[in-house]
């Protein structure tokens, strides 16, 4: 079992999302959040989902994870419909959802422990190996509150990885980290992905992070969210930070930025409060459309 873990691409699944719609509230309070969302998460690819603030990215993740049932449409994992949460699709949450009452070791071994498919000795070995991999062996008996932000994110990553999920769903996992730690975590994550080649969906609101990580970029529209455009990012792997100044990167960024700008204009017209800042950012850029420049992505004022 432990061997398969390290073989690139093995055990990865393909997720197909067709026509998913989701709304909340009843009667006059009804709000449509997702509408006719269709895309595929290809096997062994890192797909990044990016969209304007509050557009329903988290709702989409909740639907894919099976926490919420879509009002319409279907989510298929390797051809089988998704209807409830399960260890084949694991979510790494915003901020982190490590259980504060468990030590790092207990957190990481939680999945195998409750699934009761592996004997204790085996998952103990597996857990230790993964903790070693992310450099947390010395911290196995610490509680999450004793770990730094970066360590917490790494622990959460391996808590998901130990279950060998077919798909990993990363819901803005590096949000709230400071710029330096964030850059280190991005590098860390991209190395891990390049070694394992699982199917990953990464949700973010930072364009720079998105392009740096992605094989494929999904740009969402405003609420109700649909897939506006899919951009293939053909930067070579392994990715290096030096690529952030390359021509291919700049081109890709420009294309994505224009699309996001368009969405922001719409959301401003619809009177969204959060869009005010975004539009201002865009109007500053609008003075010179030829140069797509500042590092930038749609912001999210409130956690969803």
């Amino acid at each position: 079992m432990s061997q398969t873990q390290l073989t690139p691409g093995m055990g990865a699944g393909e997720m197909t999302v067709t026509g998913v719609a989701k709304g909340f509230g009843l009667g006059p309070l009804h709000k449509q959040v997702l509408c006719d969302c269709s895309f595929t998460l290809e096997k062994g690819k890192l797909t990044v989902l990016i969209g304007p603030s509050g557009c329903g990215k988290s709702t989409l993740v909740n639907v894919l994870a099976g926490y919420e049932a879509p009002d319409a449409g279907s989510v298929l994992l390797d051809g089988k419909p998704v209807c409830e949460p399960g260890p084949d699709r694991l979510v790494v949450f915003q901020e982190t959802a490590l259980f504060p009452w468990m030590t790092t070791y207990e957190n990481v071994s939680y999945g195998p422990r409750v699934q009761r498919k592996m004997p204790e000795a085996e998952f103990r070995r597996e857990t230790m190996k993964l903790l070693d991999l992310v450099g947390l062996r010395d911290f196995k008996d610490k509680y999450p509150s004793q770990l730094s932000g970066g360590m917490q994110r790494r622990a959460e990553l391996v808590r998901a990885m130990i279950n060998q999920p077919k798909v990993m769903l990363m819901d803005e996992p590096f949000r709230g980290l400071d710029a330096m730690t964030r850059a280190l975590m991005q590098e860390y994550y991209v190395r891990l992905f390049e070694e394992h080649r699982g199917t990953n969906l990464f949700v973010t609101s930072e364009l720079e992070e998105a392009i740096f990580l992605a094989d494929k970029l999904l740009i969402l529209t405003n609420r109700p969210a649909r897939v506006k455009k899919v951009i293939e990012v053909d930067l070579p792997r392994p990715r290096e930070f030096a690529m952030l100044t390359s021509k291919a990167y700049q081109d890709c960024k420009m294309e994505a930025l224009e699309l996001l700008h368009e969405e922001a204009m719409k959301s401003f017209a619809a009177g969204a409060v959060n869009a005010a800042d975004f539009l201002e950012a865009c109007s500053q850029m609008g003075q010179d459309q030829a140069v797509p420049s500042c590092k930038e992505g749609p912001g999210e004022e409130t956690r969803q």
């Binding site: 911290f139 850059a183 930072e206 950012a281 500053q284 930038e296």
Partner: protein, 282 residues
């Protein structure tokens, strides 16, 4: 360009930091936070200090602001001794701090927050202060939110109001302690532009702390890159991108060159800090 800046500025706000050392001594475990650090900041300079978290940048800022004492060395503001190993001047409205997570008083409206400084310092009646505040908010493009409480406006707005609150007091120096941390990239670009506009208009001395290199180069005239604890200056960078700057500066050749130049240095320190942090926690 430096000379041009000097002419535009009034001569207030020259900070000189000489051989400052700070040792923390909680529970007997001596921790050297800042080690023999010297800087000369010209009046009207936009000075940015970059370093990994916990490296002692904030200690330096707190010493200038008057919140902390230092162990040895001297800090002067416009030739006057601010603090040394023996002396500490109380915080005052000539050096105003904008804090990491924001410190707008949640129990006051935006207008009350902005007029806080003039009102407590006395000498102005409340109506004049309010008129001045309204005019200032208007100039900065912040009208229409005077009577909202800070919790009701967006985080980008909040930070801008806080800068306006500082500017109301016409300080010699503006001290910014990682003010845009924990903001997403988009909101950041807005507040960056805002801060640059404020700086270009007022030419106040700005002492800005961050650990985001891009932000540092984009905003600063001079960037000091610090080592991990104990904080020392590793590199000084003169950013000669002309002002007024806007987002276009981010794609200029100078910017990319500067970024390339020090990305390695910063990355190295970040890694060191990261490792050191883990060792300490083990």
């Amino acid at each position: 360009m430096n000379t041009a800046e000097k002419i535009a500025t009034n001569e207030r706000g020259r900070i000189s930091i000489r051989n400052v050392t700070k040792v923390y001594d909680p529970d007997g475990a001596k921790v050297l936070a800042v080690d023999n650090c010297s800087m000369e900041i010209e009046a009207g300079e936009f000075c940015v200090v970059v370093g990994p978290s916990g490296c002692g940048k904030t200690t330096l800022l707190n010493a200038i602001a008057g919140f902390h004492s230092i162990t040895s060395g001297e800090i002067h503001l416009d030739g006057e001794l601010l603090c040394s190993g023996q002396k500490r001047t109380q915080p005052g409205s000539d050096r105003i701090v904008v804090f990491q997570n924001g410190a707008l008083f949640p129990w006051y409206t935006v207008l009350e927050n902005v007029t806080f400084g003039p009102v407590v310092q006395g000498g102005v009646n409340e109506k004049d202060a309010k008129d001045k505040a309204r005019a200032m908010l208007g100039q900065m493009g912040l009208e229409g939110i005077e009577n909202n409480y800070p919790s009701e406006i967006s985080s980008g707005m909040r930070r801008r109001v806080e800068i306006a609150r500082a500017m109301m007091n016409d300080p010699s120096v503006l001290l910014l302690d990682e003010p845009f941390r924990a903001m997403d990239a988009l909101t950041k670009t807005v507040v960056h532009q805002f801060l640059l506009d404020v700086y270009d208009k007022s030419k106040k001395t700005v002492f800005f702390i961050t650990h985001d290199l891009e932000e540092a180069i984009f905003l600063g005239s001079k960037v000091y890159i610090m080592t991990t604890r104990p904080a020392q200056i590793k590199t000084i960078l003169n950013v000669d991108i002309p002002r007024p700057r806007d987002f276009r500066a981010l794609s200029s050749a100078t910017y990319i060159r500067l970024k390339k130049e020090c990305i390695e240095a910063v990355h190295e320190e970040a890694l060191k800090a990261f490792k050191a942090g883990e060792r300490e926690m083990a």
